[in-house]
Each structure stands twice: as structure tokens, then as C-alpha cells.
């Protein structure tokens, strides 16, 4: 047991903390955007688990999902109008005609796990996210973003360990 007590944090520990932080951030924000018009943007469909959670906690909200390809579980794939396929670096910049309004919430779980690749991604992603976020809207992200005019909100212990961030754009 002594060995167990001093065991280092594993990737599994970090991952569970990350998913838990993501869930709590999204649920927290879902209760706060009632007064903000605009859709939700999910950057990266992946397995579709987070999309499934978003549509459960925000049943009345339009959700657009961006990814290069659809590799999700068949139970959680958006309809064709709300699945935007292509390199997000390109599609996010040109999604205006399709998405129309700025978003009340943007969720981004595009982290690569490599700190340099994440820095590069944050560099092009930050301005695009700024452009697509409504005043007073929220951004929950697995990559730290340097966003002018956004406030970084307090993080839970799970968010610290799991590397998750929450920002709010000035209203």
C-alpha cells in the first residue's frame, strides 16, 4: 500500500481528470448561456462523445460540429447540415454563411499532446475563435489560448491536472 500511496500520476489519471473537467465546464456554461443568442460550435467530432453530451445538456441549441472526417460512433453523428467537414483551419474561417450567428459556446478539444504542435495550433486558432464567439460567449478548450478581450475563468483541480481552460468573451 505504501507503494500505491506514492504512485505517480499516470496518463490515465490525467485523462480521467481531463474528461471530468470538460464535462463540468460544459455543464457549468450550459446554465450560463441562456441569455446569449447563437449556436454551439464543437471543434473536433472525434468519437462523438462530447457532441453527444452537448446535445443532451443543450437540447434546444443548434450545434455545429467541425472535423476533417467523420470517425464517430454511429450513435452520435450530427446531421449533414450541422457537420462541417474539412480542415478546421480553413472551414472555421469560411463557415459564416452556414453558421450565420456568432457562437454562444465554442468547445475545442483539438490538442495534440505535443506542446509545440499545440502552440502552433493556438496561434492560428485563437483569432478564428475570437471572430466566431458572440459577446459574452464562452470558450472551453483543451489548448491554452491567448485571446484578447477574453477573461480566463477559474479552473478546478481536474482542469489543472487535465489541462483544460475556460474563457469568457467580454459582453
Amino acid at each position: 500500500m505504501a507503494e500505491r500511496a506514492v504512485r505517480r500520476k499516470s496518463r490515465l489519471d490525467v485523462f480521467i481528470a481531463r474528461m471530468t473537467a470538460q464535462k463540468h465546464f460544459l455543464e457549468d456554461v450550459a446554465g450560463k448561456i441562456a441569455g446569449i443568442d447563437g449556436p454551439v460550435l464543437e471543434l473536433g467530432l472525434g468519437n462523438g462523445r462530447t457532441f453527444d453530451h452537448l446535445r443532451e445538456i443543450l437540447p434546444e441549441r443548434e450545434i455545429f460540429v467541425f472535423d476533417r472526417a467523420v470517425t464517430a460512433h454511429p450513435a452520435s453523428i450530427p446531421d449533414g447540415d450541422h457537420m462541417i467537414i474539412g480542415d478546421i483551419r480553413d472551414t472555421l474561417a469560411f463557415c459564416g454563411p452556414r453558421v450565420k450567428r456568432q457562437a454562444a459556446l465554442i468547445h475545442c478539444d483539438l490538442g495534440t499532446g505535443d506542446p509545440t504542435a499545440d502552440l502552433a495550433k493556438a496561434h492560428w486558432l485563437g483569432p478564428l475563435i475570437d471572430e466566431r464567439t458572440a459577446p459574452g460567449g464562452y470558450v472551453a478548450t483543451g489548448i491554452a489560448l491567448d485571446l484578447n478581450g477574453f477573461e480566463a475563468l477559474p479552473r478546478t483541480g481536474d482542469a489543472e491536472l487535465g489541462r483544460y481552460w475556460l474563457y469568457r468573451k467580454a459582453a
Binding site: 500505491r4 496518463r11 490525467v14 485523462f15 480521467i16 462523438g48 462523445r49 453527444d52 453530451h53 460512433h73
Partner: protein
């Protein structure tokens, strides 16, 4: 419950059962086997839990983070259906603990995998090995062990072989 909720509970159950298994195999010699390294999260947890045991990973390709890869002699590459039954010379001793998360979200796919996987595990595990698995496996002789209170029955499985 969303698929995210269900996933968090499944990964938490996996971690609880692996931690429990670490106590259960305290007195049993033998390496640890992780079936499906995937992105390496569970392998890294096993490496953290068992600093004094050899932990082997099996998969047919590698896409895990480069800082959690096992040394090459402990990374068995190939279709697990082919490699596992022939892995005993590589393992050096019968495994004390086998973790299996080869499953898909499809119960039919899991049943098909289970049919070849159970005998393949028996070929390389101790007759009293502990098995942690994400779906039921039809071993020739085994008992289900009590689950920690936080794990709902059926979410993840803790088994001891009784061969």
C-alpha cells in the same frame, strides 16, 4: 446519460479495478499484459502501478504518445489473435495480470472477439491470474471477484482464473 458520462464512468471503473488488481496479485509472480496499447494511457497506468514488474503491451500498430511506449522487447506487434497464443517465450513467465480493452461499443463484435481471446489468454496466463476486462470472456474456469462499491456491475469486469 450521454456517451461522455458513460465513458468517464467506464475509464474510472477501469482505473479502480486495475488498482484493486494490484493488491490482488501482490503475492503472484509474473508479468503484466495489456491487450491493446491504444494511445498508451492504460499502459502508462500499469507502468506506474507496477514499477517492479515487466509490463508487456500488445497491438497491431502504434499510435500512442512516444513517451509512454514500452521498450521494444515488451511491445509485441501484430494481430493479437495470432501473437498472444505464441507469446509465452517472450513473456518469460505466465502473466499474473491481464488487462483487456480490445472491445468496441458493439456487443456482437465483443462476443466475436471474446471467443478467440479467452483461450488465447489462458495460453499465457497463470492458472490463478487476475483478469481485468471491458467485456465478459468465456474462460474454461474462472470466478468473478467482488467489485469496489463505486463500480456498477457489468461496466467493467474483475475475474480470477481457476484453472
Amino acid at each position: 446519460m450521454s456517451r461522455l458520462d458513460s465513458f468517464i464512468r467506464r475509464m474510472s471503473a477501469q482505473r479502480l479495478l486495475l488498482n484493486e488488481a494490484a493488491d490482488l496479485i501482490g503475492e503472484l509472480d509474473g508479468p503484466v499484459v495489456d491487450l491493446g496499447i491504444g494511445n498508451g494511457r492504460t499502459f502508462d497506468h500499469l507502468a506506474a502501478l507496477f514499477p517492479d514488474r515487466a509490463v508487456f503491451a500488445f497491438d497491431n500498430f502504434i499510435h500512442s504518445a512516444i513517451d509512454v511506449l514500452p521498450p521494444p522487447e515488451r511491445m509485441v506487434m501484430g494481430d493479437i489473435r495470432d501473437t498472444l497464443p505464441h507469446a509465452l517465450p517472450r513473456l518469460g513467465a505466465r502473466a499474473a495480470l491481464v488487462h483487456n480493452d480490445l472491445g468496441s461499443a458493439d456487443a456482437v463484435g465483443n462476443a466475436a472477439t471474446a471467443a478467440w481471446l479467452a483461450p488465447a489468454i489462458e495460453a499465457v496466463a497463470r492458472p490463478d491470474a487476475v483478469i481485468v476486462t471491458s467485456f465478459p470472456l468465456p474462460f474454461s474456469s474462472s470466478v468473478s471477484l467482488p467489485l469496489p462499491a463505486e463500480v456498477r456491475p457489468g461496466r467493467y469486469h474483475l475475474i480470477r482464473l481457476t484453472i
